[in-house]
Symmetry: C2
Subunit: 357 residues, 2 copies
């Protein structure tokens, strides 16, 4: 299907029935070609693989069986770390990176189906906070343009470190997850706003930590983005119809911003991040959980997501159990999986069925 002057140099990775992935690259004078797994070891069956060279200078590799889901990797050619030319490219690790999607025989909730589709809109705006033109992505549910009298709740949904506003749709398939849930009547229709979690202070030169002084994302979100979205889209703009969630770095941002602004957010969710290793209900998160009645009056839902294979899993589970025991409106989603998009897809799938109900 594709035009390519270099068709012979590349090959889309294939995945066999045992979930082994095969790769091929032309590197005639290279001494060493490796595949480097940027996910956990079992995601791609090993941390690293050596390609083997055939007599034509073509290097090939078939991996061990891989775990279903979407996994980051890169190629090393004589020590240079680059992307695999034949695969999809996604923004992660602070740059364009290779990923491979290993199909799941049991799960298809994130695949495009023959159902009504919402749109993913690129919304451009000049930010007075960062003094740059920024882009956020907006998911509008199917029928948004036709149901001109309907207003919708809004979820602010953040990506992880090194990723961008593209992550939740390109990697996460958030739009297809929502389309499918809505087609089955399993979720309320809502708008999703996905902005970039890096909002550098004008002139900032350092790498940005999620909540550091040079990252003005909290200001940007609360002072610029929310008013802009409520003005540009048909939103339900009261607190109970606004939620914030994020994964990993974005989870920390969601907890920090969500709990600092009970006047803005009625639901808060962490997907694999922002947890405490020895959760103290009286004092952690500035003591917000201390008074369960007050917390529940402010927040309709506190959602905790974590993969069962993540090191943080026991801590997140203990936090959830402590909160439930204390009477907090909390929910827990713990799919089998690691710190990976397949888990976050499931978190969104679970969260979307609970929020705004």
């Amino acid at each position: 299907m594709l035009f390519s002057a270099h068709a012979q140099l590349m090959k889309e990775p294939t995945v066999d029935s045992e979930k082994r992935a095969s790769f091929m690259i032309n590197a005639p004078v290279a001494k060493e070609v490796k595949l480097i797994n940027l996910s956990d070891e079992m995601a791609l069956g090993a941390k690293e693989y050596n390609f083997e060279k055939n007599s034509d200078g073509i290097w090939t590799l078939t991996t061990n069986p891989c775990r279903p889901g979407m996994h980051y990797f890169e190629i090393s050619i004589d020590g240079a770390k680059v992307t695999y030319p034949g695969s999809g490219h996604y923004f992660g690790w602070g740059r364009w990176t290779s990923m491979i999607e290993i199909p799941d025989d049991q799960l298809d909730f994130y695949l495009p189906k023959k159902v009504p589709h919402g749109e993913v809109r690129q919304h451009f705006y000049y930010s007075t906070t960062t003094q740059t033109t920024r882009k956020c992505l907006i998911y509008t549910p199917p029928g948004y343009d036709k149901n001109v009298d309907q207003k919708y709740p809004v979820l602010y949904l953040q990506h992880g470190a090194g990723e961008s506003e593209l992550g939740w749709t390109m990697q996460g398939k958030a739009n297809f997850i929502m389309d499918n849930l809505l087609a089955e009547g399993k979720a309320m229709p809502f708008i999703i706003v996905m902005d970039n979690g890096y909002a550098p202070r004008p002139g900032a030169k350092n790498q940005l930590s999620p909540g550091g002084a040079d990252n003005l994302f909290a200001d940007l979100l609360t002072k610029e983005l929310i008013p802009m979205i409520d003005s540009a889209y048909r939103t339900l703009s009261d607190q109970k119809n606004r939620a914030i969630a994020g994964l990993s770095m974005g989870a920390g941002q969601a907890l920090r911003i969500g709990f600092e602004h009970p006047e803005l957010f009625g639901s808060v969710a962490t997907f694999s991040g922002g947890g405490k290793s020895n959760f103290e209900i009286e004092t952690d998160y500035n003591g917000i959980f201390k008074d369960a009645i007050q917390f529940n009056n402010s927040y309709r839902l506190f959602f905790i997501g974590c993969g069962t294979l993540e090191p943080m899993y026991p801590g997140m589970k203990a936090m959830f159990e402590s909160l439930k025991e204390h009477g907090i409106h909390a929910a827990f989603s713990a799919p089998v999986g690691s710190h990976e998009w397949q888990v976050w897809r499931m978190h969104l799938y679970d969260f979307a069925q609970l929020v705004f109900k």
Copy 2:
């Protein structure tokens, strides 16, 4: 600003005041690292460059002065053709490819400015033609969501060979070009539909030629896409308010489909493609230009764009002159430049000021 475990391995290319671009890559055991210019020679000042290795195993390169605009290139590491890790990635050449934007001291019509911005919407649909879920991009002008009684003309705008529906916004900056023209009152607001010019017949295994039997794009556009767009958006759906344009491969598609369907399209544009080397007004394009009165009754505008440095330039210019002499409603845009996005940005800039007026 970016999180990266590999920050030291990459460097965004920089461009100095002489328009020389600098690159850096860590490839400690490589024998040879090259930059391969995928554009014309002068775009990046030479067809190919060798990086030089310093004592730390870091390879660096500073090019000759480059021509303003956005240019495709790739890196060769010991013979393996890959992308440059530090640069923007764009879909071209049938794969994700490196590009570098060389600023133009005179031109800023395609840069984001502090003006009202339109949206770029990802519109997903199941195609009965290809039997797949497809994505097209839709530019809606500023104010589209607010001016709920306004209807808009529609331009169908196609990319070149090896590119995708992303090309006109990611490389072409079509949305910013329109935003800026509209802010200056230089163009009518219209919707732009950018679909993928490859629409493989279900089961087709061959590479698709633009108008070959396995590429059902003409069917998809005329039978599926136009009715869907007219149903989903507030369009002016009469012939005179619908135009088709494309670049290179997309220019050939625009001419073929546009001239075969005078009932659908009121304006047709070629940007650098689909021309004839010895244009015969009586017979070429199935004799559509033979009767100027009939042509002008069907079509309000036939727009020909070409870069002055393109080999096809003399032929395109001769065609335009022959058409003008014959009394055809034709316009010609010939910016200084080659077969490149900077030229097509200028074509769109010129065309948008003429169409639908």
